[in-house]
Amino acid sequence: MRMENITINTGKTLDKQALVDLYEQYSPAIFRYASRLLDDSYLAEECVSETFSRFLHSIRGGNQPENVRAYLYRAAHNWIIDRYRKHPLPDIPLEDDFQADPEGNPAQLVTKEMDRQRVRAALLRLPAEQRQVIELRFMEEWSHDEVAAAIGKTIEATRALQHRGFSALRQMLAE
């Protein structure tokens, strides 16, 4: 993963192109991350927008995040948390409502969608940090180092979160 080194000197010229490059590079990933958790492409888009806005805001203040990618994921994460605080989801049932119909027709598609909903419901029941680690480890397939940097914890802590999160998911989704 490329870590961007931006040369920004407040008061002199900004490296505008570098910032545009950063946007191009990370905007799709942040969108993906947000859309998985929000399951809504417009909300995810808003999340991307707010995240980069916050990024620009912090640069203006003269603070340059060392690890831009980690910063962006953290900002997106916080926005999503905030969003759920203000608009909590109704409780999504995990089990029997989603039994696949064995006689089922486009059974494949239907089962996949049901699985998706069950996974989403289970993910949303995890504490945010566990969820984030699961996301980054199993969906984005980042290394432990990268995940630790993104959430601002030690590698041991990240491993522990992964372990707990995965156990919790196993319990919730065991057939």
Partner: protein, 334 residues
């Protein structure tokens, strides 16, 4: 599940997670373009202000002012993602006009003592919003929003004394909104300076106490159909006091039970109708689960809870005084 099945299931679970990740909602091209345009616009604002300029303070205020204006624009654009609102567009135009005149001067002064319903009142609120946007520090922002809530309260008093009830509920709504924004700013602050946030929270609580006392005094002077509106404002300021989540002691008000969740250094309050507590005491909220990592927690609940506690000592009690157990009885005076 035996060990083998466990391992198989784990593989299956990993596949499910992967499949889930891949099937996430796709990005809509028009929306993607809009996001990009917004970014470029904000970037331009930054870029503009960064041109070498001997008088730094001058250029900074241009950055700040136009950046804040852009932010306002952006918020309104975000609103119009969901619905095209001519009110949003009008607000945008107004904000731009305000910034053209620098937010100071005759217009601002004329607007400063207006009441809801007056022609220049929107200018007053736009200036307030701009000031809040300009405040980079969450503490300053919180203080500003609290002071705006105070201004709303003054306006409410004036409206009532004039017998002008048509704009009252909107103003009360704004009062409550400002309180929530102050609350949000304090939450932001607690993210990187918990101590300062705790102090600020207790200051805010004091201010809110005063507001709610003032509102109480107003109750007698309003017609009975207006009283519920004022009550709403009172409840709002009180629940904000009670809903602070760091370093405060709070109480749960349920129908039959008193509950308090004490986690980290905190006690958390939930005002809920039944006795199912949903409380997440990390830095986020989850749905209907109490999850606490690596903390000492005491959960005071009398009814249905899902509690997942790691490495914690847990204490379950059922009244404020912290002793006793069993099902919920009437709330006791601890």
């Amino acid at each position: 599940m035996d060990k083998n099945t466990n391992a198989n299931f784990d593989e299956h679970l990993k596949e499910m997670l992967k499949a889930y990740g891949e099937a996430a909602p796709r990005r809509k091209p028009e929306a993607e373009k809009q996001t990009r345009d917004r970014f470029m616009m904000e970037l331009d604002t930054l870029h503009l202000g960064a041109i070498p300029n001997p008088s730094h303070s001058g250029s900074r205020s241009i950055i700040s002012v136009s950046a804040a204006g852009i932010k306002q624009l952006k918020e309104n654009l975000a609103m119009s993602f969901a619905k095209r609102s001519s009110l949003a567009i009008a607000t945008m135009v107004l904000v731009l006009v305000v910034f053209l005149f620098g937010g100071g001067g005759i217009t601002a002064y004329a607007a400063s003592s207006t009441l809801p319903g007056d022609a220049l009142y929107p200018v007053k609120t736009s200036i307030e919003n701009a000031r809040a946007e300009l405040a980079g520090d969450p503490e300053a922002r919180a203080r500003l929003y609290l002071s705006f809530a105070g201004t709303r309260l003054d306006e409410i008093k004036m409206l009532i004394s004039e017998g002008n009830y048509s704009n009252l509920s909107e103003t009360v709504q704004q009062f409550e909104d400002n309180i929530h924004k102050a609350q949000d700013a304090i939450e932001d602050l607690s993210g990187f300076d918990a101590a300062r946030a705790a102090e600020l929270r207790s200051e805010a609580a004091e201010a809110l106490e005063q507001y709610s006392a003032s509102l109480n005094n107003l109750m007698t002077g309003v017609p009975s159909n207006i009283q519920p509106v004022i009550e709403g404002a009172i409840n709002s300021s009180q629940s904000e006091i009670e809903n602070s989540n760091d370093d405060n002691s709070n109480v749960n008000i349920n129908d039959d039970d008193s509950n308090a969740n004490i986690n980290d250094d905190d006690s958390n309050a939930n005002i809920i109708d039944d006795s199912i507590n949903g409380n997440d005491n990390n830095d986020d909220s989850s749905i209907n689960a109490n999850t606490n990592d690596d903390e000492n927690n005491s959960n005071v609940n009398s009814n249905t809870n899902s509690n997942t506690n790691d490495n914690n000592s847990n204490l379950n009690t059922n009244d404020k005084s912290g002793s006793g157990s069993g099902g919920g009885g009437g709330g006791s005076d601890g």
